[in-house]
């Protein structure tokens, strides 16, 4: 057991850092890498940085060499990410494509698709989005209702997707659609690549609790997709979708809004309770310790997965654990910070403070939903990891169109 770099790892880290030092400047403490862009200028900066990395061989380093990567190990990938995070870089708008959709294309795409799309994806020339969730199909993705109907050599898509990150600046999307409503739920789904600039695609931002808009609704009205854009076969799209979701869980994690426990410790040293620093209150210390144990446990669990991955073992349940622990943890940390601030915790004003914890508190509920709700994560852990029986399913052996949907579905 050793938490330090091996000699090879240290050398690789030095190599990464040397290139970064030559091409970027160090990040100011406390600032974070964004995941979305509000304007075209930011998109362009992000694309320029991605192209620069690609030219030097530092883009998608864990991708196989045949697709333009350097076939780096997971641990090397992680070292690169750690190092890059130490430098000031534009938002990473490519994660969904490079982390989830690219690997899906490698596994299920045709050679023509791989040739056409992967290099531009790697270089950041084309940004991708994932068109999965619908208003009535979130946790229960297979309940999706967006229709694709064949019309000559093309397919025509009608319906609505939601929670689509980056749709407004994406060139391409990967969309799951229903092509056979008379089949059982999981059997009538087909997976396509869709041109986000095609006629009939309309993107509308969704405003969230915290006032921001990281997500979109995307409406499809008679959008034509050529048959060559199908990923895998008709009505067999669920397999490809699962590949994407597996890669999603690997891509999520880390990051997140708000500070860490170290920031809370500093806050508790500054803010008074009854005239003394809050940290002198034993109850405050209990709460900080509980938060630390979970934060640190998740970080360490991530390192354990990495060790397993680096040996070619299947990753353990650590990714689901990280999501299940991390999302409520961020909400709890933010709530605790607001409480430490006292009535001033209610002030969410640029003119008064950095709004760090206020924005974290308002943004936190999204983290407990997006990418799999807390409940879905517990189902996954209890069923796939612990081997407990699955939920009784009433929707498994009936035609999709006969599944009960209630009033609001």
């Amino acid at each position: 057991m050793d938490f330090e770099d091996t000699r090879e790892e240290a050398e690789f880290r030095a190599e990464c850092r040397a290139w970064l030092e030559a091409n970027a400047s160090e990040r100011a403490p406390g600032s974070e890498v964004g995941m979305s862009a509000r304007d075209n200028e930011t998109v362009e900066r992000a694309q320029a940085w991605q192209a620069k990395k690609a030219d030097a061989g530092w883009a998608c380093i864990t991708w196989p060499r045949e697709y333009g990567g350097r076939g780096a190990t997971r641990i090397q990938g992680s070292i690169w990410n750690q190092e890059e995070a130490r430098f000031e870089t534009p938002p990473n708008l490519f994660l969904i494509g490079q982390g989830m959709l690219g690997p899906t294309l490698m596994a299920h795409g045709t050679e023509a698709q791989q040739t056409r799309y992967l290099e531009k994806m790697l270089r950041g020339e084309e940004i991708w989005c994932q068109l999965f969730s619908e208003p009535g199909a979130g946790s229960d993705l297979a309940a999706l209702r967006t229709r694709a109907e064949q019309d000559g050599d093309a397919w025509v898509i009608n319906g609505q997707k939601i929670w689509t990150t980056g749709a407004q600046y994406s060139r391409w999307g990967m969309i799951v659609t229903r092509t056979s409503p008379g089949a059982v739920k999981h059997k009538g789904i087909t997976y396509f690549i869709v041109d986000m600039h095609a006629p009939g695609v309309e993107v509308r931002p969704i405003k969230q609790i915290n006032g921001g808009s990281s997500f979109n609704e995307v409406f499809f009205s008679d959008v034509r997709v050529p048959a060559e854009n199908m990923i895998g076969r008709v009505n067999e799209g669920w397999r490809g979708a699962i590949t994407t979701l597996m890669n999603e869980r690997a891509a999520i994690g880390g990051g997140g809004m708000g500070g860490g426990v170290d920031t809370l410790v500093r806050l508790a040293q500054q803010v008074p309770i009854d005239g003394r620093p809050a940290l002198e209150d034993a109850g405050v210390r209990q709460r900080i310790a509980r938060l630390y144990i979970r934060q640190r446990g998740v970080q360490l669990a991530g390192l354990r997965s990495l060790t397993a991955l680096s040996r070619g073992e299947t990753p353990g349940p650590d990714l689901s654990i990280g999501k299940l622990v991390g999302a409520p943890l961020r909400q709890e940390m933010a709530a605790f910070a607001l409480e430490l601030l006292g009535p001033m915790g209610a002030v969410d004003d640029d003119a008064v403070g950095d709004r760090l914890w206020q924005q974290a508190y308002l943004g936190a509920p999204g983290g407990r939903i997006a990418g799999g709700t807390d409940e879905i994560m517990r189902n996954i852990i209890s069923e796939r990891v612990l081997g407990l029986p699955p939920e009784t399913r009433v929707d498994k052996h009936v035609a999709f169109e006969d599944v009960p949907t209630g009033r609001k579905s």
Binding site: S133, P135, G136, G138, S139, D140, A143, I162, W163, I206, K207, Q208, I209, G211, V271, P272, I273, D274, G275, A278, G283, Q331, A335, L338, E339, L340, L341, G342, P343, M344, G345, A346, V347, D348, D349, D350, A351, V352, Q358, Y361, L362, P365, R368, I369, T373, D374, E375, R378, E391, R393, V394, D395, V398, V403, P404, T405, G406, R407, K408, S409
Partner: protein, 368 residues
């Protein structure tokens, strides 16, 4: 032994509820949240006309002359409706402060305006981050002039009358300050944009003591009273968040079944219902103590307030979560509860603060 409100009290509550359902639907709260007003003047005016701003103000000062139990029920309805009005500030805090500590002249001058809603009161206690300590207040009253920087002050920029916690010498006191020279109230953005939050800067403003100014114990008693009423406001909010969530999980289907048929959801809603019920029992007892059993109030108020803060906070956060993706959108109403719950929990001291006081008071009783 009779652990319930009487028929007249329930009729009053029904009337308030019906008024607010009609005049203060959630869209009214949202209107303020969207920045179209600092509070709902229509609802405020209506409340004044119906006479429930002055519920607990004696008739000779223009009020309805009812008691704390009636006021608690009105507070519950204000909470249920998320009414975007300065009710807590003007009524539980400023009117109550005048009633408890004010001189006869002060009562005669201000209470009728407060009951009529023509003057809004705000309570200025806090001075920046952390939890207050009366002894160390930086705001000073000397020779009729008050100077200090109070923030945040709920409803501070819509108020015309302030009760300000300050020091005279090294003693904590309460002062009355009206709008005027040396009084500057600046709006600050609030985590719950449907309520007005402000910074109140006092620079040599004209001020008088509230009655004889009170002392630390009198201020604590005032906060206990306000905490009890605030607990009812929170209880109303919790109840409503729960009711909407229950409806939603019955209507929304996932995997071919109502969301509310999953045991994980059922059991969490059962636990939430239990938490709200326990908060309700504790709050009823505190209301009874408020109405007449002063000895019981310190423990009962602290228990009620801590329990109700947690119950509303949990109800609102479960509401957002159980609404799924839609729950964290601006468009959905869940956000209104999530934000209000947090604002109310942070105002007048966090649940942690009140739990601390609760145990200290239990220990004092146990020693006595």
């Amino acid at each position: 032994m009779n652990f319930d409100f009487d028929d007249d009290q329930k009729a009053l509550q029904r009337a308030v509820r019906e008024y607010l359902e009609r005049e203060s639907p959630l869209s009214e709260c949202r209107r303020v949240l969207e920045g179209e007003a600092r509070y709902s003047e229509t609802v405020w005016r209506g409340a004044a006309e119906m006479g429930w701003l002055g519920t607990a103000i004696p008739e000779r000062y223009g009020g309805a002359g009812l008691g704390a139990l009636e006021l608690a029920l009105v507070a519950e309805e204000v909470g249920r409706a998320l009414a975007p009005i300065p009710f807590a500030s003007s009524i539980y805090l400023v009117s109550e402060a005048l009633l408890q500590l004010g001189s006869e002249a002060q009562k005669e001058r201000y209470l009728p305006q407060l009951a009529a809603g023509t003057c809004i009161g705000a309570f200025a206690l806090q001075e920046g981050p952390g939890h207050g300590n009366g002894q160390a207040l930086a705001t000073v009253l000397k020779d009729g002039a008050i100077t200090g920087d109070k923030q945040p002050v709920l409803d501070g920029d819509v108020a015309g009358l302030y009760v300000v916690a300050c020091r005279v010498g090294d003693q904590p006191r309460l002062a009355l300050v009206g709008a005027g020279e040396g009084v500057k109230a600046t709006p600050v953005a609030c985590i719950d944009g449907s309520r007005a939050l402000a910074r109140l800067q006092l620079s040599g403003a004209q001020a008088e003591l509230l009655g004889d100014g009170g002392d630390a114990a009198a201020i604590e008693h005032l906060l206990d009273r306000a905490a009890t009423l605030m607990a009812f406001e929170q209880l109303g909010g919790a109840d409503q968040a729960f009711a909407i969530t229950r409806e939603y999980v019955l209507d929304r289907y996932v995997f071919g079944r109502p969301v509310g048929s999953f045991q994980a959801i059922k059991h969490r809603l059962a636990d939430l219902f239990v938490d709200i019920s326990l908060a309700r029992s504790n709050s009823y007892y505190a209301a009874w103590a408020l109405a007449g059993s002063a000895d019981e109030l310190p423990v009962a108020a602290a228990a009620a307030r801590a329990a109700a803060s947690d119950a509303f906070d949990l109800a609102a956060s479960e509401m957002v979560h159980m609404h799924g993706g839609i729950g964290f959108t601006w468009e959905a109403d869940a956000q209104l509860f999530y934000k209000r719950a947090k604002l109310l929990a942070l105002t007048l001291g966090s649940p942690t603060h009140w739990r601390d006081r609760l145990t200290l008071r239990l220990a004092r009783e146990s020693a006595a």
